[in-house]
């Protein structure tokens, strides 16, 4: 899987690429409009992470360029400007998702995961992981073909963990992921613990292997 990170803040671009490299992604970095334009016109990427505010041009221009050439690359906008208008404009031109800075790398990874999954034609609606099967359409989880009774929040949590497998997700990232729009107001991550606990219990009761590891109460990891 090839990913292009269009971001002029090199430190951020490097963090993103080294986080994603852990999951068999190949990352390239473009730090200017020109650089990005050249790369986009030459290669195909499964996903492009696009910063809108670049020193030598607007990321939205690149989006228009992609649309004009009818390219199928998935695009996630990463912007410092968390404005509804920008979001709507970006999605209209052809972006697949919009993520406002600052974000957790785990959140980004989960979004990429879901974007790439949606773009794959063969296996859109199901994720298979050893004895675990997740049906994305009906939002059902099966262990060895037995249904696991799971709440919506726990389902989201499971997908989030699997979207970041073998990497540690911070409690804060989980809390923000589960809070959605409410994340701006959250200041208490205690509820994360009980959701993790419940999910773990339910999976284990269904005789699923315990994949969820806790890292010193700071983070969680789906260990494959």
């Amino acid at each position: 899987m090839k990913i292009l990170v269009v971001e002029d803040e090199l430190e951020l671009a490097e963090s993103i690429s080294s986080y994603l490299k852990g999951e068999s992604y190949v990352c390239e970095i473009a730090s200017s409009f020109k650089d990005a334009y050249e790369k986009i016109s030459m290669f195909y990427y499964d996903c492009i992470l696009l910063d809108i505010m670049l020193p030598d041009g607007s990321g939205l221009k690149l989006l228009e360029e992609l649309a004009k050439e009818k390219k199928q690359d998935g695009v996630i906008i990463i912007s410092a400007k968390d404005s509804l208008e920008d979001k709507i404009a970006g999605l209209k031109i052809g972006a697949d998702d919009y993520l406002a800075k600052p974000f957790h790398l785990s959140e980004l990874s989960a979004r990429i995961h879901s974007l790439i999954r949606r773009k794959q034609f063969d296996n859109t609606n199901q994720i298979q992981f050893n004895e675990l099967k997740i049906d994305l359409l009906s939002k059902a989880v099966y262990v060895n073909n037995t249904t696991v009774p799971i709440t919506k929040t726990e389902f989201d949590l499971l997908l989030f963990l699997i979207g970041n497998k073998n990497r540690v997700i911070s409690k804060a990232a989980v809390a923000e992921h589960l809070s959605g729009d409410m994340a701006n107001m959250m200041d208490n991550f205690d509820f994360v613990y009980s959701h993790i606990k419940n999910l773990k219990r339910k999976l284990m009761e269904a005789e699923c292997k315990d994949y969820i590891k806790t890292v010193y109460g700071t983070g969680y990891k789906w260990e494959a």
């Binding site: 803040e9 701006n184 107001m185």
Partner: protein
């Protein structure tokens, strides 16, 4: 503000007071002056008559004629030298007049005369009674004229003042209706009066500078918040990378946990500041029908989950389902902020009540048994509680959203509960 405190009315009040005072004081003075002048006149006439007597009658008169003289002269009499009155200067005395009949004031001169070597007293007097009537009439006339004059001046002053001060009141009215948040400097009516021109110029300058300062302050907040997003993103991403380190020990993990919390708080403050400046910059323009009951119902499950860890109970009492023409994202943020506040500042095993009618939203919660300081409650960063991870902007945002929709927000502490009211 009583209408008596208006500039014009004040002017006219003082004017009336002074005019009355002048009228009251000047009338007796006028009367006194008139009287004095008249008496001087009368005295002069008496002296003239005395001179006349000296030159024409004194030498030719015989003692035998005195009776006749006295018989025919009512006001110039020759009396025997037995009168012990001050001589040679004019005094005032009352005499009884049989004709009227009443006591009447006279100016009177006694002087010694010698007729045929005999001493007599010559008395010359003049009645003041007619003059008194005249003076009274004159005084009344004077009063009348003065009163009418003052009355005319009163109305003229009022008329002129009203006209003259018009530009001033125009300006005043404009300033009164000026709202810095609407980004529009008031249009001041041009005037030809130097002072008002100066005033308008000064006010325009002041307002424009204020608008500029306000604008740049707002832009600063927005720009600063935006500029912080990228370094924050770098910071947070580096934390995420650090967390992946397999050699991480428990101490480092707990430091990392604190850093995560600080980063979350920073990003929260930043996002809330951005939200505030967006509302202030009128970047939320869309209005649509918002069903408040549904909005509240939608978030209750989420908050119930939040409330679970502290064993809080949430009571809802929705008696009406008002549909408002409002900005949906802002209404949601407002409701969320209020409920979250009620959770955050609650005590364990406490309760939260949410009431919705067609006129108001009331959110109450148990918590500290003390009224909050209402003065600073809705101000930015004026944190009342000791919880140091709240952003200090929640209520400021609620207030701003209420202002935006022209709703009223208020706080009340009663029956050991804290209540926030939104009057729709």
């Amino acid at each position: 503000m009583g209408s008596m405190n208006r500039l014009l009315n004040r002017t006219l009040l003082y004017y009336s007071l002074f005019a009355t005072l002048i009228l009251l004081l000047s009338s007796p003075f006028f009367y006194w002056m008139m009287e004095k002048l008249y008496i001087d006149d009368v005295d002069e006439a008496i002296m003239l008559r005395r001179k006349e007597f000296d030159s024409k009658n004194r030498d030719s008169l015989t003692t035998a004629q005195i009776i006749d003289w006295n018989h025919f002269n009512r006001d110039t009499k020759i009396l025997p030298d037995t009168i012990s009155k001050p001589k040679e200067h004019i005094i005032q005395e009352m005499f009884f007049d049989e004709m009227t009949p009443e006591w009447e004031p006279y100016r009177i001169l006694y002087s010694d005369v010698i007729i045929q070597n005999q001493h007599y007293v010559l008395m010359i007097r003049l009645n003041l009674i007619e003059s008194e009537d005249l003076i009274k009439t004159l005084t009344w006339l004077y009063c009348g004229v003065l009163f009418v004059l003052l009355l005319i001046i009163f109305f003229i002053t009022r008329f002129i003042s009203n006209r003259l001060w018009k530009p001033f009141f125009n300006t005043l009215n404009q300033i009164d209706h000026f709202n810095i948040e609407q980004h529009q400097s008031p249009v001041l009516v041009t005037t030809h009066i130097t002072e008002f021109k100066q005033l308008n110029k000064g006010i325009s300058k002041l307002i424009n500078e204020n608008l500029k300062a306000y604008q740049s302050q707002k832009e600063f907040t927005e720009n600063a918040a935006h500029e912080l997003q990228t370094p924050l993103a770098v910071f947070q991403s580096k934390l995420d990378m650090l967390l992946q380190d397999p050699s991480l020990n428990i101490n480092q993990a707990s430091i990392l946990q604190s850093l995560y919390q600080a980063a979350s708080r920073l990003s929260r403050v930043n996002k809330n500041l951005l939200l505030l400046s967006k509302i202030e910059n009128n970047q939320y323009t869309s209005r649509e029908p918002v069903d408040l009951a549904k909005t509240i119902h939608d978030v209750i499950p989420y908050f119930s989950e939040q409330a679970l860890s502290r064993n809080l109970t949430i009571h809802t009492n929705i008696s009406d389902a008002p549909v408002l023409n409002a900005c949906r994202p802002l209404v949601e943020i407002m409701i969320n902020n209020l409920i979250l506040n009620a959770i955050r500042h609650n005590r364990n095993n406490g309760s939260i009540s949410i009431k919705l009618t067609s006129e108001e939203i009331v959110i109450g919660n148990t918590g500290e048994l003390q009224k909050l300081n209402t003065q600073n409650l809705f101000k930015r960063f004026s944190k009342e509680s000791k919880l140091n991870n709240s952003s200090g902007l929640g209520l400021a945002i609620v207030k701003q959203i209420c202002n935006f929709h022209k709703w009223q927000v208020s706080y009340e502490y009663k029956k050991n509960q804290h209540f926030f009211y939104i009057m729709l």
